[in-house]
């Protein structure tokens, strides 16, 4: 059995990223879409950590902290926004948010 190398991490990371992207593309609930987006961020985090580990460079892990922090604030605002929208429209489905078009 070959040792787990950078490629493996990266493959997982890309898979995660694609999964997240797929979620964004196919799900209709804004909340789920938002979760999928977080998944994409985490894919990047995974890649960064792996690179950091295999390049012997701690910068990557620090970047991950940055990303987690920023994402947290983003989530705070984003969820608040989605809640506000839900309170006004009583829905979180994207098909119901098409007042702005053409």
């Amino acid at each position: 059995m070959t040792p787990v190398g950078l490629q493996h991490y990266l493959v997982v990371s890309v898979l995660l990223f694609c999964l997240g992207l797929l979620g964004v593309l196919v799900r209709r609930n804004v909340l789920v879409i938002y979760m999928s987006l977080e998944l994409m961020l985490n894919a990047a985090n995974l890649a960064l950590t792996a690179f950091s580990r295999f390049n012997n460079n701690l910068d990557g892990q620090i970047i991950v902290f940055f990303i987690i922090t920023v994402a947290a604030s983003e989530v705070a605002v984003g969820l608040a926004l989605i809640v506000a929208l839900y309170r006004r429209r009583h829905t979180t489905h994207v098909e119901d948010m098409t007042a702005l078009k053409n």
């Binding site: 992207l21 593309l25 994207v94 098909e95 948010m97 078009k101 053409n102």
Partner: protein, 616 residues
């Protein structure tokens, strides 16, 4: 004479026209006086020029009008025998007709405008006469066309007059196209526009024009075809009779239509013998066709118009026989007697409340004796009865024809017969026989201001042959020729007895034929006898119909097609604009407002970018 006086010959009429137009519109009497004064002054000054010329002191004046590169355009006054003679004809006959108009046009609401336009015409015509170069001549050529247009359309309220004016202008323009192309071509080859310069170069190197020699000549001749109403552009002149009668007399009989002939004489040096042959035949055909048509016209002015055409054909034919002096001679005498005939016709029309149909007239001899006698003099002169002026000039032409081309000579004799026939047809029907309408009963002799010019012109028509015009002008064209005697009453019979005698015979036959058919006729007997022929003649050989078809095919149909193409272009522009808008509307559908569409497109776009950037 001082130089400014020479300029005044030309510019006095223009000045009169301008002053009348700008200031005297409401003062008919003043404008008439000014116009008449101007042309009279020009006449007197022209006499002065003649005196100078005979003294050998006639000046050549030239200003540079324009100079760009190798193109030099002058504005000049050129005085030689040709121009001096023509000046006298234009101003002399012009003065008489101006004076006649004072009476004829009285009471017209646009009296002042009439005289302004007449003065403008005089100016333009004099400009042609004194030109020393092609360009200046073309300029005045066009201006003459304009004044003719204005005067034919003087009564523009009449649709027929307005149409006739338009037709005259455009037909003239057709000739002018050739004229202008010829001028440009001649300039391109010789590098000069002046008559003298070009003549000098041709004398030095007769092959200068090389292969284009004939073409240049024919193109220049086109101008004369238009202005002198030669076949095939003759159709405008009869219609031009819609203008007031003095206009017909001055412009469409005596001067403007003769300008073509004058031009041919002026640039005679440029023609090759091929050109001359064409010119002679065109002249001959014109003479014959119009004489034939004249036989079956009923409008007094139209008969005279066709007669004018026919006589112009004579003159052009004379040029074609290398006999410009004969052409100029006939031009001069024709100016006298044709002006006389028109003015006489005008007098008749005036008396009959604008009636022009000869079959509504009759027995005017007793009502208008002075008109009758002068008209008779004019008719005889036109027919060419010795010793009246027409005899000399016409015989000079026929003599030249006898020498050059027997076929055309025969044609000329035929025309002489026809001329006598239709003129006496007119004469018998109008002045003799029974009155054919009530109008005749109210007719009366015209006022003296109209009859005195008739008398004056009749006198000129009678003695015109003895004035020594050929003798005056011949040296210019053949300097080597022996000096001719000034007074030679029997000259026709001496130089070419055959032509002269045959001419007399033609007159006699024509007179007899006219007498047989028309003396005392109530209506025209000919249509009954030769129905088809008369029909063709009454329709003027269907030229107008043919040209209408030609214009439709060659101009209106293509124009319609081009217009369709233009509409196509416009649609193309609209299409471009429409495509942009339509694309926008379609593209806009992408913005559905649905977040999922957006994410999908965004991801697809990103994927495309990555694909193209990373696989290439």
């Amino acid at each position: 004479m001082h130089e400014p006086l020479h300029w005044l010959i030309l510019f006095l009429p223009l000045l009169a026209a301008m002053v009348i137009t700008l200031f005297l519109q409401r003062y008919p009497r003043c404008s008439a006086a000014l116009s008449v004064g101007a042309v009279l002054a020009s006449f007197l000054l022209s006499v002065g020029v003649l005196a100078e010329f005979l003294d050998g002191r006639a000046p050549d004046i030239a200003l540079t009008w324009l100079q760009v590169g190798s193109l030099q355009i002058q504005f000049g006054l050129h005085f030689d025998a040709l121009s001096a003679l023509m000046l006298l004809v234009v101003t002399g006959v012009g003065s008489v007709i101006h004076i006649y108009s004072v009476g004829y046009m009285r009471g017209d609401p646009h009296y002042a405008r009439f005289f302004a336009e007449m003065s403008l015409f005089t100016f333009s015509m004099l400009g042609i006469v004194v030109s020393n170069n092609f360009f200046q001549m073309f300029v005045f050529w066009e201006l003459v066309g304009l004044s003719s247009y204005l005067l034919i359309g003087f009564w523009y309220q009449r649709p027929s007059a307005a149409d006739a004016a338009k037709k005259a202008f455009l037909t003239n323009r057709l000739g002018d196209v050739g004229f202008l192309i010829g001028i440009v071509l001649a300039w391109a080859v010789t590098g000069t526009l002046s008559f003298a310069g070009m003549k000098d170069q041709l004398l030095r190197d007769p092959t200068l024009f090389n292969t284009t020699a004939t073409v240049v000549g024919l193109l220049i001749f086109c101008g004369a075809v238009g202005k002198s109403a030669q076949f095939p552009l003759h159709v405008w002149l009869p219609d031009a009779m819609e203008g007031p009668t003095p206009v017909s007399a001055l412009i469409h009989a005596a001067t403007m239509v003769a300008a073509g002939v004058y031009m041919l004489c002026r640039v005679f040096f440029i023609f090759t013998h091929h050109d001359l042959l064409v010119i002679a035949w065109i002249g001959g055909i014109t003479a014959l066709l119009s004489a034939l048509i004249a036989v079956q016209q009923d409008d007094i002015k139209r008969i005279l118009a066709y007669s004018t055409l026919s006589q112009l054909g004579y003159m052009v034919m004379a040029v074609g026989f290398s006999a410009p002096p004969a052409a100029m001679f006939h031009l001069t005498t024709h100016a006298f007697f044709k002006a006389l005939l028109f003015l006489g016709a005008g007098s008749v029309i005036h008396a009959l409340s604008q009636e022009q149909n000869i079959w509504q007239m009759g027995r005017l001899r007793s009502k208008m004796p002075l008109t009758y006698w002068t008209f008779l003099a004019g008719t005889l002169a036109l027919c060419g009865l010795w010793p009246l002026s027409g005899a000399f000039s016409k015989d000079a032409i026929l003599a030249a024809a006898w020498e050059h081309n027997k076929a055309l000579f025969a044609l000329g004799e035929l025309v002489a017969f026809l001329t006598t026939f239709y003129m006496f047809r007119l004469f018998f029907v109008v002045f003799l026989g029974k009155p054919k309408s009530d109008l005749v009963g109210h007719a009366h002799e015209s006022p003296r201001i109209m009859t005195y010019p008739l008398v004056f012109l009749a006198a000129a028509s009678v003695v015109g042959g003895f004035m020594g015009i050929t003798q005056f002008i011949t040296p210019q064209f053949s300097p080597a020729s022996a000096r001719l005697p000034i007074f030679a009453p029997l000259e026709p019979f001496e130089t070419s007895p055959v032509a002269a005698l045959l001419g007399l015979a033609a007159i006699a036959i024509g007179f007899v034929a006219a007498y047989v058919y028309y003396a005392g006729a109530e209506s025209d007997p000919l249509p009954g006898k030769m129905k088809e022929v008369c029909n063709v003649l009454r329709h003027k050989f269907y030229f107008d119909e043919f040209y209408a078809g030609l214009v439709d095919v060659c101009q209106d149909k293509p124009a319609r097609a081009i217009n369709l193409c233009d509409i196509g272009l416009k649609l193309l522009v609209r299409l471009t604009h429409g495509t942009a808008e339509w694309t926008g509307r379609v593209l806009r559908l992408v913005q559905t407002g649905n977040l999922q569409t957006y994410t999908l497109l965004l991801a697809a776009g990103a994927a495309l970018v990555l694909y193209f950037m990373l696989t290439r």
